[in-house]
Amino acid sequence: MNIRATAFGVAKLLQILAIFMLVPLLISLFDHYEGSILSALGQPTVQVS
């Protein structure tokens, strides 16, 4: 079994995973800065007291 070829294949798979990991990261950022983003877009934000 060729270890170098195996490592190369696994690295390719990790590349794909890294791309998909961006989606939850963006969701997390959006949830964190939702208020600022919506107000920057001119949308009303809900105030919870």
């Binding site: 696994v10 390719k12 798979l13 995973l17 998909f20 990991m21 997390s28 949830d31």
Partner: protein, 455 residues
Amino acid sequence: MREGFAIVTFGWITLTFFAAVPLYLYFNANFDGSFPVHFTNAYFEMMSGFSTTGATILTDIESMPRSILFWRALTHWLGGMGIVTLAMAIFPALGVSGYQMFKGEVPGPSADRLQPRLAETARILWSVYVLFTFSETVILWLAGMSFFDAVTHSFATMATGGFSTKNASIAAFDSDLILWTITFFMYLAGANFLVHFRMLRGNFSDWKFNAEFRFYTGIILAAIVLVTAVLYINGLQGAEEAARSYRVSSGMDSGELQLHLQSEQQKLSGLYSSFKHASFQVLAIVTTTGFATADFDLWPNILRLLLVMLMFFGGSAGSTGGGMKMIRILIIFKYAYRELRKILRPRLIQTIRVSGVSVEEKQVSNIVGFGFLFIMIFVFFSFIMTLFIPDLTTSATAVIAALGNIGPGLSGVGAIENYAWLSIPGKWVLIFAMLLGRLEIFTVLVIFRLSAWKK
């Protein structure tokens, strides 16, 4: 040539590790004392996601942020059709044996291909997968789910995973339209995607001539009829006694158990309700999705046993389902029948035929060997699990729920339970069982042979 299997196995182990890191960081930062913060928990959750098992260690799913819930659903979706298959569709030239990788990840005894080029077949599989996921998302959204829930539940359904964004799973939505939509898409997800592709192209002959598709549909219909009849006639009579021992031990007192029983009994009042929940649970178990609309652990023992039996069957080859796969079960039945006939007529020479085509003896012995190995691993892992779980039903069904990539088992790991309470070594046993089940045993075991590493 053997690198294909190594890439798939090590790829899955490594991907799961990196996927678990954000979850582990979140657990550490937001620890509320409900379960021990340990990397094993994050790894278990992610292996459960990628392998489309759907077994969770989360005790309060609804308290999780949307990013974590989406990540769990996305791991289902990537693992369902296979991230290696996706890589082959996107990067056709990975530089190693493509067929081995394809065979190593796509469920079923033989990796069928529609096109001479594997990358083309991988692209077809993923196209159908994306199309069905999109369609389900739109329908669930129109049926009343929020867009976020519609996307995450479509991911979980089409991958036959079972992670929900709600503590009560699909029961939380209390909508017949949502229930039937998910039932229908679970049925599609458990069938061969190449069959779907041919049907989408207008070739409906598989309905008539594909033996596995007919067997899959026949088993589902027979199970639904039986479960509906028993639920309608018997209801949940006798469930209280059976449930008391493990429910109380899992933190439910007598009063809570009584209320729970009443609510489950109400769910099954009338023929339509029995049919509805029977259809949903049979599909959720056969396709190895593992969603729940009812606590099937309270159902009569004959049905609990039937559901456990269906866990071994699993979906079709070329689907996203787990288990042993319908085609293997069909061929093992035919093999057993042939051997029975041979006892009476020793000179009989008969090939096993599926969909009118003879199956090579080499493939028949591969399938029988797989079946034997599957059962042996189930027995061996169940023995090991009895060291960590005192209840035999819980330990055996936890193993088949992991090995078959189903999710819920019975008793302590039943439909309304979770895996948070399980010890760390016990979780690692199940993690390995999930990997073995998803990559269909041979792909993983072959790399443990020393001869595979010799040049």
